[in-house]
């Protein structure tokens, strides 16, 4: 993103560059953060930093965060690639391509063995 500075030069605005790069993948980054939180993966801290940087800059942060929180039945259709993250069999995290456009929540929860609720 550029803003006109004078007739011959343009100023690069870094935060707009960061925003435009993160916007298409923020949903997946958030899900990665959630999966890392479930399994305590090392990637969690870095992922949190990136996601937080996005929400510090995004002008639509409030509505974006709300959309991440509220249940999906009415609106949470996956954008772009339908990916889900889950703890891998040999540690770390696994990424899987979901079947269809909707997330398979039961599969995600049943795969999340470290997360128990009695």
């Amino acid at each position: 993103m550029f803003l006109p500075h004078s007739s011959s030069t343009c100023i690069l605005i870094p935060y707009l560059q960061v925003l435009s790069a993160l916007t298409p993948v923020i949903l997946h980054l958030f899900r990665l953060f959630c999966a890392a939180t479930m399994g305590k993966a090392n990637i969690r801290v870095k992922c949190r930093q990136v996601v937080m940087s996005y929400f510090r800059l995004a002008p639509t942060a409030a509505s974006d965060l709300t959309n991440l929180m509220i249940p999906p039945s009415h609106l949470m259709k996956t954008t772009a690639l339908p990916l889900c993250f889950m703890p891998g069999a040999s540690g770390g995290l696994e990424v899987r391509r979901a079947i269809g456009a909707w997330r398979d929540f039961e599969q995600e929860v049943s795969s999340a063995s470290p997360f128990h609720v009695n």
């Binding site: 958030f30 953060f33 959630c34 939180t37 479930m38 949190r48 996601v51 937080m52 929400f55 510090r56 942060a61 409030a62 509505s63 965060l65 709300t66 991440l68 929180m69 509220i70 249940p71 999906p72 039945s73 009415h74 929540f105 039961e106 995600e108 929860v109 049943s110 997360f115 609720v117």
Partner: protein, 219 residues
């Protein structure tokens, strides 16, 4: 185990993650906006659920909507517990919150909202002129409440209407010396009042949502 529990758990986790991000961002205004967005969604779903049974496509879609409302209320309860009284720190957010609560048909929520509005209008919190439009939006809701003979908050609602309608003269006179002092004191007081308010209101909401869910599943 109910069928919807796995979804419930995953959403609980997502809500927890968003709340953790909000904690890290340390931006009360943003947290307040998120909270208000959630309340707007609650109101929207309530309105949808109040439709006549015949307006639903099927019984399943009505059930899905009530299940959705239950999950949504759980999210709101979790958010209010985690974010606490600091969540609505700006006057415009408190006024939007009051509007949202007054729109609900629930008598107790209306009474608590009017009590909060009385506190704000008493001058303990400075309301910037840019937010006066939000006060105007409350007038029709307060009028409905004050015309309801069954409502225990009727008299208070009437006083609030008068106070809002005459604010130009009354508040301009107070402007200046009192405002700076009131703003600093009011902020602390408002947070304390909000803390009590949240606890009582959301305990009620939590109870009602659990009851609705229980009745829905046992029917």
């Amino acid at each position: 185990m109910p069928e919807w529990l796995p979804l419930n758990l995953l959403l609980f986790l997502q809500a927890e993650c968003v709340l953790e991000l909000l904690d890290g961002l340390q931006n009360d205004a943003l947290a307040g906006d998120v909270f208000l967005c959630l309340l707007e969604e609650v109101s929207r779903v309530r309105r949808e659920l109040n439709k006549e049974t015949s307006q639903w496509d099927s019984q399943e879609s009505a059930f899905e909507a009530s299940e959705y409302q239950f999950l949504l209320l759980q999210t709101v309860v979790t958010a209010s517990e985690r974010l606490g009284s600091a969540v609505l720190s700006q006057p415009n957010q408190v006024l939007k919150f009051i509007k949202s609560m007054l729109t609900e048909a629930d008598a107790e929520a209306a009474q608590l909202s009017v009590a909060l509005l009385v506190m704000i209008l008493s001058g303990q919190v400075e309301i910037p002129r840019s937010d006066w439009g939000l006060l105007d939006e409350l007038l029709p809701l307060l009028e409905t409440l004050s015309n309801d003979p069954q409502s225990p908050a009727g008299d208070a609602a009437k006083h609030c209407r008068i106070s809002i309608a005459t604010r130009d003269k009354a508040w301009s006179a107070k402007a200046g010396s009192q405002e700076a002092e009131a703003a600093s004191k009011g902020d602390v007081q408002m947070r304390e009042i909000m803390k009590v308010y949240f606890c009582s209101l959301y305990s009620c909401m939590c109870f009602v949502s659990q009851l609705e869910s229980y009745l829905g599943h046992s029917a």
